[in-house]
Symmetry: C2
Subunit: 151 residues, 2 copies
DNA sequence: CTAATTTCTAAACCTAACTTTAGGTCAAGG
DNA sequence: CCTTGACCTAAAGTTAGGTTTAGAAATTAG
């Protein structure tokens, strides 16, 4: 298979460690846009290996696939991304990561206060959802209330 | 409703901000064990308010319900937990939290290295899954490989 | 006592991120 | 040419953590 013909999905899966089905799924989510060969099979650029690596890293940082699609939109689509392009969106990832770390650090401080008194009384301890976007979404109304002295 | 008769599920929901359906679900997952009144309705102790608060906090820390069930197993089941009992499992929670924070900090350091070179070559940058249990489970084989120089 | 609330169970539905299956097509090796 | 392995699509299944629905029974308010 000559380079100009691109990589098949199986080869791409082998290079990234992803399942073939996952790669097709990412395409369905708009994260990848392979072209098709004469027989209708997907063909990928080598740059897509890096793209998939990026997706895996971003997922570890807690980004959803739609989030990642947005970040990837920062790449040029008329040419193969350069290391500089990747570095640029790496910075954007760093922002997400910093936010998550801050959240957890704040949570830890509050927990330390709670451990001291053993109360777990949330309004008092201020241990309520400090915009942890990973947890906050999806599950209906969940304002955190705790004990109240009476009843 | 006299105190000795316990709290109904609706009252408990009101106190915690959780949906009635969520409380029933937690019971199905073994996180709560209410008794039943003569008519077959669930009745809860006041200590269950604190138990539910704990569950909500632990979820924000990224623990799964099975994880939380394990942590809660550290509470005495023959008597109402004291503040001291809660403080003890709060410490256990702190351990989980520390681990998650460490993971993210390590990830951030690695990312900084990657931003510098723009490579996203995972084996080289060591940006592979450092046992982030929240992400690691569930989704098939996902060892992270990156670019290889050739092909 | 009656009407309005709650609660009950079981089962279906929901989202995210995939995998699996079924049935068929394409490509490569001998 | 033929067989085997890779690939295709569409649809259904999976897990976590719940919510919604339906129909029936219990409880509460007036």
């Amino acid at each position: 298979m000559a380079i100009s013909e691109g990589l098949s999905i199986g080869v791409l899966a082998g290079r990234t460690g992803l399942a073939v089905s996952a790669i097709r799924y990412y395409e369905a989510q708009g994260l990848l846009k392979p072209w098709r060969n004469a027989g209708g099979q997907r063909r990928y650029q080598r740059a897509d290996i890096r793209r998939l690596s990026f997706i895996m890293i971003a997922q570890q940082f807690g980004l959803s696939l739609p989030d990642i699609r947005e970040v990837l939109a920062g790449l040029p689509n008329n040419r193969t991304p350069t290391p500089k392009d990747w570095a640029k969106i790496g910075v954007s990832l760093r922002g997400h990561l910093d936010a998550r770390i801050d959240t957890l650090l704040r949570l830890r401080d509050n927990l330390d206060g709670c451990i001291g008194c053993g109360c777990l009384s949330l309004p008092k301890c201020k241990l309520y959802n400090p915009d942890d976007t990973a947890r906050a979404k999806g599950s209906g109304p969940r304002y955190l209330l705790g004990d109240r002295p009476e009843v």
